[in-house]
Structure formats: structure tokens, C-alpha cells
């Protein structure tokens, strides 16, 4: 199963593309100036549907990626999650160190 974007309602805000853990939502390389999900690497994570401000992304049971692509998609998602978590923790650690520094300096 995979998700599809209703092309007539998509406003190209790019939110889904930026959040997609498998980098399978395309825009700049599309003939039509619209966002499109490549079903081959869609892992049904539902993130795109949840962030879409137009509610124009839906689950399409008829579209089924092959097992190999699905496995590759999951690999990509794991790497994405690791990278994102590292980034989030890195920013948080830095911010906390700054707050502590300010408190120590008595500002």
C-alpha cells in the first residue's frame, strides 16, 4: 500500500517532501509543477498525511510497492530517523549548554 497526493488540491507547500523519511516525494523533477509520491519507496509511515495542511494526502490500498523497494525504503527511513534524532539532540545539547552558561554568569 502507499500514499497518494490529490494533485488538484496540493498547494506545493513542500511540507510533506521535507518530512518524508524515505525522500520519495518529488517536486523539482516533475513535469507537472506538483508534488508526487513515488510509491516504490513509500513505507506507509503516514507522516506526510499528518503534516499536510490541505488534507490532500490519502492512503491508496491499490498501489503496492514491491518487496525489494519496500525494504530499501525502510533502510532509508532508519538512516533518516537516526540522522534527525542526532540533529535534534545536538541542537538541544547546545541550547542547554547555553542556558546553563547564562545562568552561571548570572544574566
Amino acid at each position: 500500500m502507499a500514499y497518494v497526493i490529490d494533485q488538484s488540491r496540493c498547494i506545493n507547500c513542500s511540507w510533506c517532501r521535507r518530512e518524508c523519511p524515505t525522500d520519495t516525494i518529488h517536486y523539482f523533477d516533475q513535469e507537472v509543477r506538483k508534488h508526487k509520491i513515488d510509491p516504490q519507496y513509500c513505507i506507509d509511515c503516514d507522516i506526510c498525511a499528518r503534516v499536510c495542511p490541505m488534507d490532500c494526502i490519502s492512503h491508496e490500498p491499490a498501489v503496492v510497492p514491491d518487496a525489494q523497494s519496500l525494504a530499501a525504503g525502510k533502510m532509508r527511513a532508519r538512516a533518516w530517523a537516526r540522522d534527525r534524532r542526532q540533529l535534534k539532540l545536538g541542537i538541544r545539547a547546545y541550547a542547554e549548554s547555553q542556558v546553563l552558561k547564562i545562568a552561571r554568569n548570572g544574566s
Binding site: 498547494i11 507547500c13 509543477r33 541542537i91 538541544r92 547555553q98 546553563l100 544574566s107
Partner: protein
């Protein structure tokens, strides 16, 4: 016959009072005071401030000022767009962008009140100016479709994520007023992206070359944002003391 708007408006250079005042324009004493308040001038950016606000409510004020600064620029940009492109675009597009200018003014007022609610006021923190100034844009890039792609579609698209992240943070930390206002702002941003996308498509139907140039401008904008983020990431990784361990699970 009615004269065009740009003939009727005052031709003197537009001035903002108080004027834009970036961190670079502060006096050395003011820069020192800001650095003491925030742990360094480099921390005056929404990504770091959001995490600092998670630890200490005081940092919501500079975070809101960073957003307010962008709203001021929004009024400037869309207001000028209305006047500059009036002869080139359909009148109902001008009306749409004028409505957007009004939205940005409303956001400005909302964020100014939020600052007061947080115990601060305009002037306590400087402006954050990201990206090129309007006057730095080369004339060939002043095409309405390209401007729409850069600002309405690309920039406002990023703003959606920023507002949602601030709203979620405010909700988690019990800042109900901030959460409420940013939820409200975000609804307007969705309209702005939709408006930009609609008119970009319409303008491109008449002149198809605009579509590719606009898309390239959007891609360039995103690459620049990615580059700035990567630089920030490297800086933070290099400056974080190894003993600092973040609390929470990172979700």
C-alpha cells in the same frame, strides 16, 4: 482614467520607524548586552532559541521577536509587490496580495502583543534579516512569478513548519497564548502558500517560461536554507561542551 497606484503613492524612499536594526548594526555595548542575555550573538536565531525556550521561558521573547522581524519584512515585501506589479498582473491578484499585506500587519500586531505578554517589547531585541534585501534582487529576478515562488511558495512554506514547531513547543511548555496565536498565524500562512501557488500557475499559463524559472528560484532558495542549516549544525557540534547531555528522549 484612474492613475496607477504607483503614480499616486509617495515616491520617496520607504522608511520604517523604528528602522530595521540588525545585530550587525548594534553598538559594541549593545552587542555585548545581547550576547550576555543570550549566551552569544550567534544564539539569536529561531532554531537555537526554540530549544533554549524549552529550558527557560525567558527565551520565548527573543524567539517571538525573530518571528516579528520576519513579519515586518512581510509587510514591506507584499506592500511593495502590490504597488510594483500592479500594471503586470491581474487586478484580483493585486487584491490577493493586498490582503496578504493586511495579514502580515495583523501578525505584526499579534506578535507585538505577544512580546508584551512575555514581558518584552519591540526594541529589546534586534531584527533578524535572512536572505537578500528587496533592493539586492537583480532586476531580471523581479518578475512577479519568480517573487511568488521565492516568497509565497518557498518561504511561506517553511514558515508553516516554523509556526507549527513553535505552536507545539508552546503547548508542551504551557504557553497557551503563544500556542493560540501561532496556530492562528499558521492558518494564514496556508492561505498565502495557496494564493502564491495559484497565481504562479496562472501567470505561467500565459508565459510558460516563468514556470521553470520560478521552480529554479525555489530550488535555489531551498539549497540556501539547507546550506545555512548545515553551517549551523557544524557550528553547534563544534561548540557544545562534551559534558552537556540533553534531557528528554529527543521526540
Amino acid at each position: 482614467m484612474t492613475r496607477a497606484l504607483k503614480e499616486r503613492v509617495d515616491s520617496r524612499e520607504a522608511k520604517r520607524e523604528p528602522p530595521y536594526r540588525t545585530t550587525m548594526e548594534l553598538t559594541p555595548e549593545q552587542q555585548k548586552a545581547l550576547a550576555e542575555k543570550l549566551g552569544g550573538i550567534q544564539n539569536y536565531n529561531p532554531v537555537v532559541l526554540r530549544e533554549m525556550a524549552r529550558k527557560d521561558r525567558r527565551f520565548f521573547a527573543p524567539l517571538i521577536m525573530s518571528i516579528l522581524s520576519a513579519e515586518f519584512r512581510g509587510i514591506d515585501f507584499f506592500g511593495r509587490f502590490v504597488v510594483d506589479t500592479e500594471d503586470e498582473v491581474p487586478w484580483h491578484m493585486t487584491l490577493g496580495v493586498a490582503r496578504q499585506t493586511f495579514d502580515e500587519s495583523r501578525h505584526t500586531l499579534l506578535n507585538m502583543k505577544l512580546l508584551e505578554h512575555l514581558g518584552s517589547s519591540v526594541g529589546e531585541y534586534p531584527d533578524i534579516i535572512l536572505g537578500p534585501q528587496r533592493d539586492d534582487i537583480p532586476p531580471e529576478e523581479l518578475d512577479p512569478a519568480i517573487l511568488l515562488a521565492r516568497v509565497n511558495v518557498a518561504l511561506e512554506g517553511f514558515a508553516l513548519t516554523t509556526f507549527e514547531e513553535i505552536r507545539a513547543l508552546a503547548e508542551q511548555t504551557g504557553e497557551e497564548m503563544v500556542a493560540h496565536c501561532h496556530d492562528y498565524n499558521m492558518a494564514d500562512e496556508v492561505t498565502h502558500v495557496a494564493l502564491g501557488d495559484y497565481w504562479l500557475e496562472k501567470l505561467s499559463q500565459v508565459q510558460p517560461w516563468r514556470k521553470e524559472r520560478a521552480r529554479a528560484a525555489q530550488q535555489e532558495f531551498e539549497s540556501n536554507i539547507a546550506m545555512v542549516r548545515q553551517m549551523a549544525r557544524s557550528y553547534m557540534a563544534a561548540s557544545t561542551p562534551s559534558e552537556a547531555t540533553p534531557s528528554g528522549n529527543g521526540n
